[in-house]
């Protein structure tokens, strides 16, 4: 379908964008890459009166790597992450996951800020943010605030962003040397949305025991979340095949997947088991 009638604004600063958002009284949507927003408009699932394009606001497209971690401006695109040489060592899990994000043309336009605001439960990036304890910086009429990724999503396609707030950056905590990681995902076609995916990382002590495991599930549930029982199953232990199986069982038991057109709850649970077990073997 053709897109609904709308106005278009191209503000030059965040202040200008916030003012436009506030004045619109909920009738405006922010436009970054548009790779999820435009299909939503084409299906007339959203009919905003105004689109506020963030393309001309300076500084939102930077990737900064500091001792505190990796800071991605909201308008950083998937292709920017994919092609960043420093990120390969600064955050290998992030770079590896990019291969699963959408298709080639879409990675040339899709952005990290847009994906979080859209909050598709099957998208990789929100799941990565939750797994990696990302901090999301937003700005609104009252100033800026930081939101933990784990407290950002309120359900499928919905977040705790206030009406006139704009995501400005996402910070992933620093990646210690030697950290182990795995990323596994199942989708019907490479680049399609995940039926189930697992992102995980953990550190090890001198004896090879697992420290501080972070295991996140993507696509199989209503929102991305950590798998606490699975994390507990391996914490403080030395991984072997028996433990990997126990962890995968714990993870698939604690998820609550929906049954829909794309797969049954039982199928998705089995996928979580398989993806978790493979991700641990990969790590």
């Amino acid at each position: 379908m053709k897109l609904p009638p709308l106005d278009y604004a191209l503000p030059r600063s965040l202040d200008e964008a916030i003012a436009l958002l506030s004045e619109s009284e909920g009738q405006a949507k922010l436009l970054a890459g548009g790779q999820s927003l435009m299909p939503t408009l084409a299906f007339r699932l959203a009919t905003p009166a105004l689109l506020i394009d963030l393309a001309a606001i300076p500084g939102l497209d930077r990737i900064e790597i500091t001792a505190a971690g990796v800071r991605l401006g909201a308008r950083v695109r998937w292709v920017d992450i994919e092609q960043s040489e420093p990120l390969r060592t600064a955050h290998p899990l992030l770079v590896a996951a990019m291969a699963h994000v959408a298709h080639y043309q879409i990675r040339n336009r899709g952005t990290v800020g847009g994906s979080l605001a859209h909050a598709d439960p099957a998208a990789e990036w929100p799941g990565l943010c939750v797994t990696c304890d990302a901090i999301i910086e937003v700005i609104g009429p009252a100033g800026s605030r930081l939101i933990e990724a784990g407290a950002f999503f309120s359900g499928p396609l919905s977040t705790h962003l206030a009406e006139a707030e704009i995501i400005t950056s996402i910070t992933l905590p620093a990646w210690p040397r030697g950290r182990r990681w795995g990323f596994q995902e199942f989708s019907r076609r490479r680049g399609d949305f995940a039926l189930a995916g697992i992102a995980l990382h953990y550190d090890t002590d001198a004896a090879g025991r697992v420290l501080d495991p972070h295991i996140g599930v993507i696509g199989a549930c209503h929102s991305p979340h950590r798998l606490r029982a699975a994390e507990q199953a391996i914490s403080g232990q030395v991984l072997d095949d028996v433990l990997i199986e126990a962890c995968a069982q714990a993870g698939s038991a604690e998820v609550d997947p929906p049954t829909d057109l794309h797969g049954s709850a039982r199928y998705r649970r089995a996928l979580v088991h398989a993806m978790l077990s493979r991700a641990l073997q990969q790590a």
Partner: protein, 157 residues
């Protein structure tokens, strides 16, 4: 309300008037008269409308015409030099890489961006990239063969 938009397509300038909701794909077809770019799904799944914007392939149905102002757009009409086909177009014929032809313009633009890269894609990258466009006739094998052959031909010129 319609507004003036200037598009640079295949190094030609098009001064058009279009509403902000106009996608780049519709603007190319309806306002510039460049109907070589095809529209399949109109929501970013099929890739038939792929064009090259500032060197990168993009889905023209997922971009507003107003966002393309001031950027260098390339469409399938810009590939051939007069009556001489682009090596990729010739390779598609030689390898029987099209049947109905509806998806072909999108595949040509996607593949053009791939084979023009400084580091040509290896087979796995090629498969990954080409799988982002849908073809319901050929089964892809001949498309992959054509792109691989054109990639080699382009480098030998």
């Amino acid at each position: 309300m319609k507004q003036p938009i200037t598009l640079q397509v295949n190094q030609n300038t098009y001064d058009i008037e279009a509403e902000p909701r106009r996608t780049l794909a519709d603007a190319l077809r309806e306002d510039c008269g460049l109907t070589g770019t095809h529209l399949g799904c109109e929501h970013g799944v099929c890739g038939a409308c792929t064009v090259i914007v500032d060197g990168d392939p993009m889905r023209a149905c997922l971009m507003f015409a107003v966002q393309a102002e001031g950027r260098a757009i390339r469409t399938v009409e810009g590939l051939a030099a007069g009556a001489t086909l682009h090596p990729l177009q010739q390779a598609f014929i030689d390898h029987h890489a099209l049947q109905c032809g509806f998806c072909t313009a999108g595949f040509l633009m996607l593949a053009t961006s791939l084979i023009e890269r400084a580091d040509p894609p290896d087979d796995q990258e090629l498969l990954d990239a080409l799988s982002s466009n849908l073809c319901r006739c050929t089964g892809y094998k001949n498309i992959v063969n054509a792109v691989r052959a054109a990639s080699v031909a382009l480098r030998q010129r």
